[in-house]
């Protein structure tokens, strides 16, 4: 459960404060599927980074599963990212010198997972994105779609609760993009909370809840607030 209350994020640009986000109130229940849309510079990525504990808000409160994390020190945030959160980026961010398997293994190496255990989990994660045959390939030898699938298996290999995807199909053609969306939705169906930042309305509208940001504020919220399920509670100010 993600609970944001009055979240603001100011950047200092040449001595002038710029409000990237202001007054964001948002509750995202576990297992939700949410899309964040909006024009460039509207604060979608900043919001995603704050939810992913890569960035800290300058105002407001962020409770993750009931724990206040907005003011935690960097070391604690690292732990949260390690165990709770998986990132998928537009440009994949694979380490070029490593194989597909090596990239998936990366987070487990630094988390201190044992070697044998790592190999088993890499195999499972790659299988779940249909890339077992490509495990030994260098990232240069993979197509864009395949690279993003490696990135997804890397994001889930530590068993996180939340999957954050920032323009995951931005560098892909329609077919490859559709495959990536399918995989992400599959992970959501398996119980992960999925947040997707996208420009593509066709992708954005697939989400159960859809947020639209303009100038750092939520301007609209769509999606049936199904009373029987925990809804995304959105207040636009």
């Amino acid at each position: 459960m993600i609970e944001l209350e009055g979240i603001g994020r100011d950047f200092d640009v040449g001595g002038q404060p710029v409000h990237a986000l202001s007054g964001i109130d948002l509750v995202i229940p576990e297992g939700d599927y949410l899309s964040l849309m909006g024009p460039s510079g509207s604060g979608k990525s900043t919001l995603l980074n704050i939810i992913g504990c890569l960035d800290r808000p300058t105002a407001g409160s962020y409770r993750l599963d009931g724990r206040e994390v907005a003011r935690l020190p960097e070391e604690d945030l690292s732990q949260i990212r390690r165990h709770r959160i998986g990132f998928v980026f537009q440009s994949y961010h694979l380490v070029p010198r490593l194989t597909a398997a090596g990239n998936v293994e990366l987070p487990m190496i630094f988390a201190g997972v044992e070697r044998r255990e790592r190999a088993a989990r890499v195999a499972r994660a790659l299988e779940s994105v249909g890339l077992s045959a490509r495990a030994r390939h260098g990232s240069e030898q993979l197509s864009g779609g395949e690279r993003q699938r490696v990135a997804i298996s890397r994001a889930i290999v530590m068993g996180p609760k939340i999957l954050l995807a920032d323009e995951p199909t931005g560098n892909l053609d329609t077919a490859a993009g559709a495959e990536i969306v399918r995989l992400l939705e599959q992970k959501n169906a398996e119980g992960l909370t999925l947040l997707v930042v996208t420009h593509d309305p066709d992708i954005g509208k697939r989400a159960r809840h859809r947020l639209r940001l303009v100038d750092g504020k939520i301007v609209s919220e769509e999606g049936g607030l199904v009373p029987s399920r925990a809804p995304a509670l959105v207040t636009a100010r």
Binding site: E74, S78, Q79, R81, H83, H93, G102, L106, I109, F110
Partner: protein, 401 residues
Amino acid sequence: MTLRDLVAFSAAALRGHRLRTGLSLLGVAIGVASVVLLTSLGEGARLYVTGEFASLGSNLLIVFPGKTETTGMSPFVTAASHDLTLDDAEAIARRVRLARRVAPLVFGGATARYGDRRRDVGVWGATADMQAVRKIGLRIGRYLPAGEAARGQRVCVIGAKVRQELFGSANPLGEILRLGDERFRIIGVMAPRGMSMGADLDEMVHVPVSRGMKMFNKTSLFRVLVEVSSHEEIPAARAALIDLVRERHQGVEDVTVWTQDSVLATFSRVLALLTAALAGIAGISLTVAGVGIMNVMLVSVSERTREIGLLKALGVTGRQVVAAFLVEAAILSTAGGLAGLGAAFGATRLFRALYPGFPARAPDWAVGAAVGVSLAVGLLFGALPARRASRLDPIAALARR
């Protein structure tokens, strides 16, 4: 994470840039090799010189006239310096109980002639005891005769080179050699000995000491070499000797007594200092290598900014990022250090093969220090790049193209 995983991760990163890795490794290797090589040469020089002294025999006292210490007296009250005479040497032999052998020595130069051949030679005026004291070997014939009467005889013993130059393959025994204006009968030829203390012993002619003093018109001996039975007797012998000479010289202590120990200690000290100075100079190149490592690591950090951003997004802590880059620097410097050590060992071996007489050998401390210092250099110069890496803002790092 385990150290093994960390090393594997960092080693893989280094393998990704073979040329850059190789070059900075080379820098460290050169630094370490120069430390080890230069200390080897310094240490070799020390061993060589101390070895030369040791070949004189360690039970030796060397007496020579005059006092080297500054006594601080005013110039009007100069202490009369007495000659160190042959009588003094005899008195030492007779009255210093611990003196097993006493070999007086007078030294000069002369032109040796045989037939129409001539050659400038060094002339030692010595006695029979000199043979044992300086461990002089004979090729043919015998050394100077012993006994009081023999000290003035016109006989001589010639060095190997003198024989070679003046007689060729002919037998020189019994022949008459002219030294300056005097004629000496050759009674022996010394075995080749080579250089010692900067003088070629094979170019010497030994004559009886009284003859030598007359030849060179000397009233004072050049040295008196006193041999005792064991090393432990040296201090007592030295004291007895100085007392005796003072008594004979109207209460003035006007001789200097060198012992093997003191000479050795002095040389050893000077040469150890030389070795340290050489190591210091070589250390500069190690520092340069460290700067090279820092440079390579900074390039690596800026080139891998996106990777560092990714690692942070994956939950890698700042401390782990520091550790990864430090391990990288440590691998670079230690591998370079080992390579340099190998090269230096190869070079000293080659050097020993080329100059067998010169015992070039790296002291143990230099080997340990070179590897330890190169590791320290890697960690020291890797610290700044590692810190820089750990402080990168992950969002900005990920956004870098």
